[in-house]
Symmetry: C2
Subunit: 356 residues, 2 copies
């Protein structure tokens, strides 16, 4: 069996390349079939790699002179970013040297380079970023998209996000017929913006062909619920939702730590309940869900959180490994090409939805 190669842009993390390399090493231990192509400043990277003998035969370093910073605009990076580690990492997927790519860097820049170099298949006007959200479902996570690829989405984009999300759930989670919901401010059909009502029609009418179950409008409180597997929204709303929840979850974790260090008795309680508390923290650990998947491109790109530590980087790389091996992206592309070819029927439905 030919091994799976993961391309890693090692320069974008808030914690520096050392944290990324440690994350790669952890992932290498978990998945002996993975190999790595690491992009960045080779002097720094070779130094980091000395501490990880496990990686000696399993990774190669490709030097890049430049780094994309967090404050650069995507348009600047497209003009001036050709010598960056991010650009090289994307190109290694484009050229077939790697099966998937992971970067902790600037999301807008990564999306812009990925769109330019990997291209979108016919029928997709906007890619989306899909993230995993802890849920009470059996598989432990729901999928939310778009969480920030684009601040706009019309009804056709939202409809395509539903297809992309369903395909991801099928391949990534092994679900046969994922339940897809459309995020709105209420579940009644008269609620929401015009494009959301139009997308509602499209998604309901095409559920059979898309081999998903459309559950209709869902609310923010349904995102972690077992009503749904995939939640569709525009990138502005999705980004605000996920960051709001991250912020509040972090607040609750700090309250929790306070509670168990507040008094001697509570410290004693924490000792007794140690394994339970540890399990709880693991269940609400955002690092486990690290990794936003770019859907709708000719290639697998995973955006890791910029503040990812080695545990979180490992999670993103293992996600890339799963998706690269199961070829989720090419499956999504195939499904969407069908839809693209069927754009006449889609346009007719869209017209009907707009007229309604």
């Amino acid at each position: 069996m030919k091994s799976t190669v993961i391309s890693v842009d090692a320069m974008g993390s808030d914690h520096g390349p050392a944290a990324v390399v440690t994350g790669i090493s952890r992932a290498a231990r978990a998945r002996p079939d993975l190999e790595f192509l690491i992009h960045g400043d080779s002097a720094i990277l070779e130094e980091c790699l000395r501490r990880h003998r496990r990686l000696v035969d399993r990774c190669s370093v490709q030097h890049s002179d430049a780094v994309v910073t967090m404050s650069e605009k995507p348009s600047q990076v497209l003009r001036n970013g050709r010598s960056s580690s991010m650009w090289a990492a994307v190109d290694s997927v484009k050229n077939g040297h790697a099966n998937a790519l992971v970067s902790c860097g600037n999301t807008g820049a990564l999306m812009a380079i990925s769109q330019l170099r990997l291209k979108r298949p016919a029928g997709i006007s906007r890619p989306a970023i899909a993230c995993l959200w802890p849920s009470v479902n059996d598989h432990g996570f729901n999928i939310l998209l778009d969480v920030g690829a684009d601040i706009r989405a019309d009804e056709r984009d939202l409809f395509v996000y539903g297809l992309l999300g369903a395909a991801y759930a099928k391949i990534g989670m092994g679900l046969k017929s994922p339940r897809v919901g459309l995020l709105n401010v209420g579940t009644e059909s008269h609620k929401g913006r015009r494009e959301i009502k139009a997308a509602h029609e499209l998604m309901a009418n095409h559920a059979d062909k898309g081999s998903y179950r459309y559950v209709g409008f869902v609310e923010g409180s349904d995102i972690p619920s077992d009503r749904v597997d995939v939640v569709v929204t525009d990138g502005f709303t999705g980004n605000i939702a996920i960051k709001s929840v991250e912020g509040t979850a972090a607040l609750i974790r700090s309250f929790l730590k306070d509670a168990f260090t507040h008094t001697l008795l509570s410290r004693a309680g924490a000792v007794f309940a140690y394994t339970s508390i540890k399990r709880l923290f693991k269940r609400i650990d955002p690092r486990r869900a690290n990794g936003g998947v770019f859907l709708g491109l000719n290639g697998t790109v995973i955006k890791s959180h910029g503040s990812a530590d080695p545990v979180a980087v490992e999670a993103a790389i293992l996600l890339a490994g799963r998706l690269a091996k199961s070829q989720v992206t090419s499956s999504v592309v195939a499904e969407l090409s069908d839809w693209g070819n069927n754009s006449g029927a889609l346009a007719a439905t869209r017209q009907k939805a707009s007229a309604a």
Copy 2:
């Protein structure tokens, strides 16, 4: 001192009028200066009141034949809702029989009736619903608005929301110069939708006159932070954000309960840590923050959560009591009238912002 009268629509709660009346009774114990005007089916309400002798001399019941249901559209309620308890409760504020109103009912209907009967002061085209969000700030809460009065907001609406939120923070929380932030998908100035960039200009340019400090763009993760006291967004985004967090906080609470009942040892730990755990649950108890304030109307209206139990109803009524006594609404109205009269200068800034 003349007592403060709170008008309560007792018919909208998921738990029925008995839960609302119990909530009123709890609030009456906490605030001996409050009196109540209770709207709904008088036969049912008189029956409920028998169990609360504390309320005998402090409340009067006003019979209504009809109830607004959760599924009714606002337009239907405006046509056919004149005999409902919700309509009567709003009218009691309009007619000066009560200082503020609390309802657990249909949010859209409550906003529609409130707008029709109480009217908006000059200069406000859209009212907003402001909610309290647990935070690490000294006062324990931040203010988020709009969380669902309207799914649209242009730059001027967002700017006015900032003024309304700042006034609420000044009067409701006693802050002298509240910090106001504008919710966006990033803090860099090139990010976000057109109207958000335009509102950014307006809010920055008018911070002195509005006597708030404008902190610029904030992200979802900043909502519970100490970077800001008031977070401004449109009602679609705000509604999704608050419900997403409510859903995830509920998930974490259920994980927490699991953790402390999982094994005998963890149960023992819970006994030791009992007071700390209880304090933790209190800090993340959504009932403490119950009560969305309708800002931008000629009258104080509080929307309680539909699923509010007596503890949550009490919180909403105590909030109404605080705001009615400190006359937050008329203060906001006064501040906004000034701004309305100054609309020439505002329009000029707006034009400049649009051109930028």
